[in-house]
């Protein structure tokens, strides 16, 4: 328990530093960012009263001492008030985040988890049965991992929307449907998610498999695995409880890193599929100099990376007792 609290403390400090850095950045932008943003907003439509103050608070550029500015900034972040988006003026940034984060997290998160599970399972089996047909599958999957993944995406789009038109080629759901808990919407969302998810799985499963397979092979030569075998344990117990249990440790750390990239790493995939996730919004924000949206997305990415790392740190404490130092 103290282990978890210590980790939590560490991550809170890291989060605070990220937020503070975000506060400092607008001050480094030459010129007046608020004026810049409002000028762009006014091109798109009438700017509501109070928008200037909201932007200043959001960017931490209001009146008063720097400390009170900082306080205002923290308060508005705590209430998820990030100002209005320029790209989708006058929609609040928080609404855009809310509607796009979930798409990305569900799609990329699920695809990553599936890819890890398949990769680790195949890697375990390939390492356990070294030299069999399964093991010779490893180079083929690394080839898939070496292919740029937007190319895999384009290939899949070509194959499954042009050659065999089974799946839709863009958007995260059929725009003609209302978002809700209807079966029609769910099946549409699922059909739209299959190709992007397949892209992620195909391009990343090889890495997981190769890493796991190699760790398996080196773990199998450890004394405790030979000992387990000499003990007459069932082969399943030896493979899972002794070999794979130890071989998986580096992959758990790798999993933490890849979870952190769930939000930011999906940018290219979301572009290719015009999937309305957070990567797609980030691209829009950058092309439209939409600072409020960009800032909010950066914060969201930072927080996902941190919370994913925290989760895995906790998980690591469970899978490897040696990391639970002091009790």
């Amino acid at each position: 328990m103290r282990y978890i609290l210590r980790k939590l403390g560490f991550y809170l400090i890291a989060a605070w530093m990220a937020v503070t850095l975000n506060f400092a950045l607008p001050r480094l932008i030459p010129g007046d960012p608020v004026q810049l943003i409002m000028a762009r907003q006014s091109q798109l439509g009438p700017v509501p009263p109070g928008e200037k103050e909201a932007l200043e608070k959001m960017l931490g550029l209001g009146h008063g001492s720097i400390l009170s500015q900082y306080g205002d900034y923290l308060a508005s972040i705590a209430r998820l008030r990030f100002g209005l988006s320029v790209t989708y003026f006058p929609t609040p940034v928080a609404d855009i985040l809310r509607s796009s984060v979930l798409w990305t997290v569900v799609l990329v998160g699920t695809a990553t988890v599936i890819s890890v599970l398949i990769g680790l399972t195949l890697g375990t089996l390939a390492g356990w049965r070294r030299g069999t047909w399964l093991d010779s599958l490893v180079p083929a999957t690394t080839f898939l991992a070496a292919v740029p993944y937007f190319w895999v995406a384009l290939l899949l789009i070509y194959l499954f929307t042009q050659v065999w038109p089974v799946f839709p080629d863009q958007f995260s759901y059929d725009p003609g449907l209302d978002i809700g808990w209807s079966g029609e919407f769910a099946s549409s969302a699922l059909r739209h998610a299959i190709l992007p998810a397949l892209t992620i799985v195909v391009s990343s499963v090889g890495g997981w498999m190769l890493g796991m397979r190699n760790m398996m092979v080196s773990t199998l030569s450890e004394d405790y695995v030979s000992a387990a075998e000499a003990k007459g344990l069932r082969p399943r117990t030896v493979m899972l409880g002794y070999a794979a249990r130890n071989a998986v440790l580096p992959s758990v750390a790798g999993f933490a890193i890849s979870l952190g990239f769930v939000i930011s790493g999906s940018l290219v995939m979301e572009m290719v599929f015009s999937y309305q996730g957070i990567g797609y919004q980030l691209l829009q924000a950058v092309t439209n100099s939409d600072y409020p949206l960009m800032q909010a997305i950066f914060l969201a990415i930072t927080f996902t990376v941190l919370s994913a790392n925290f989760l895995v740190d906790v998980l690591y404490g469970f899978v490897d007792p040696r990391t639970r130092l002091a009790r």
Partner: protein, 406 residues
């Protein structure tokens, strides 16, 4: 450290494979051969035979690379590619009197045999524990695999009992291996080896990584447990001094072969093979007189391919004419101390060196070369129990025929 239960076999007791004396033999290895595959296969074990009697400690000594550990792996059928057993037989007699052919066991038979009949304490027992699970869990794994009808509480109770038996606090079942000291881990490993009360425990350099004080504690512990539980031990180490003390009988290995087989108590005073003499000279005797410590010059031969003549000839100060051409056979020396054999032409009446045998300055052994009357004629001599039968001089026999059964 002689087993009180085992009476030393008399020098003349007849014991062939089916001899009446063979009844208390628990593990019998005959002409075991192991090769490591490669461009030129390394023949690491070249026809080793031994018999292990119930309740005794058989020491296997030899320098690194002489095939000790490979032999242990072969006996437990733990060899993995590129190593492979190319010949020999292994039979095991259980406490209940059932005769098992270890080479004929199928996978499931082998699995149930392991640990319940024969357990192993590994060379680096420090690393023999799974680092990510608790000690108790690892005991439970053993019971789950071999005693499926044991409940969780009983498994836990037994694990605690075993830990206490080796002098470790029973609450350590909840500890992970990294929370234990080296000596404690070693004790845990030994407790685990005894978990199913096996007939035989093979200990492969179990104390090499420990300092002498802990080593002593562990050895005393093993001796106490052995007297209590009555299992047999094959103790493998390069430390001949240690073996002289704890074994009942001793096999000295060199280049994949047993070169001398002797009762441990008498070996220090009467080593017959020049290699054994060399080993004895390489460590100090605390109780004996001061003398110059000498190693054995040179290094063991390349085990790839055939060796012409005696494998030790190049390093042997007594080497004479036949040593480089003819492989010596393991012959019984007919000594009164018990079954005692050596593979050396110095002791083979057929190759007796000329009268003025080279002097051996500094050799501590008083009678390396027994008087002619000590040496029985090789033909028709009953071979004492526990002694690999000497092979008749086979035509074209290299070292490979060494120890082959007729």
């Amino acid at each position: 450290m002689n087993a009180p239960a085992t009476a030393p076999a008399g020098p003349g007791s007849p014991a062939g494979p089916d001899g009446p004396d063979g009844r208390d033999v628990v593990l019998r290895a005959r002409d075991v051969r192991v090769e490591y595959d490669g461009e030129r296969p390394t023949r690491a074990v070249r026809g080793v035979s031994f018999e292990l009697r119930r309740g005794e400690v058989l020491g296997i000594a030899g320098e690194s690379g002489c095939g000790k550990s490979t032999l242990a792996y072969a006996v437990t059928r733990m060899l993995k590619a590129p190593a492979r057993m190319t010949g020999g037989s292994l039979s095991f007699r259980t406490r209940e009197g059932e005769e098992l052919d270890l080479l004929a066991l199928d996978e499931e038979g082998l699995r149930t045999f392991r640990w319940s009949r024969l357990s192993l304490v590994f060379q680096s027992a420090m690393n023999a524990l799974n680092p990510v699970t608790t000690v108790g869990r690892q005991f439970a794994d053993v019971f789950r695999a071999h005693r499926p009808d044991m409940g969780p509480e009983e498994r836990d109770r037994r694990a605690r009992e075993l830990l206490e038996m080796v002098g470790i606090d029973a609450d350590r079942v909840r500890s992970h291996p990294h929370e234990l000291s080296g000596g404690m881990r070693q004790r845990v490993v030994i407790a685990m080896a005894l978990a199913l009360e096996p007939d035989v425990v093979i200990m492969d350099e179990p104390t090499t990584a420990l300092d002498v004080v802990v080593q002593r504690e562990i050895l005393d512990e093993v001796e106490r447990l052995r007297a209590e539980l009555g299992f047999s031990v094959v103790f493998i180490t390069h430390d001949l001094g240690l073996l002289l003390e704890i074994s009942d009988r001793l096999a000295v290995m060199y280049a994949g072969e047993v070169v001398e087989y002797a009762p441990a108590e008498q070996l220090a005073g009467g080593a017959a093979h020049p290699y054994t003499q060399g080993l004895l000279r390489s460590f100090p005797d605390l109780a004996g007189e001061r003398r110059e410590l000498r190693g054995i010059p040179g290094s063991p031969p390349d085990l790839r391919g055939d060796l012409a003549g005696c494998a030790f000839a190049d390093r042997c100060e007594h080497a004479f004419e036949p040593c480089r051409t003819t492989a010596p056979r393991l012959l019984d020396l007919g000594r009164a101390a018990g079954p005692w054999s050596a593979a050396c032409h110095l002791h083979d009446p057929a190759h007796r060196p000329p009268a003025g045998a080279p002097a051996r300055p500094g050799a501590p052994a008083p009678s390396d070369v027994p008087a002619p009357s000590d040496v029985p004629a090789p033909s028709g001599t009953p071979v004492p129990a526990g002694t690999p039968e000497p092979a008749p001089a086979a035509p074209g026999g290299g070292p490979t025929t060494e120890g082959r059964q007729p």
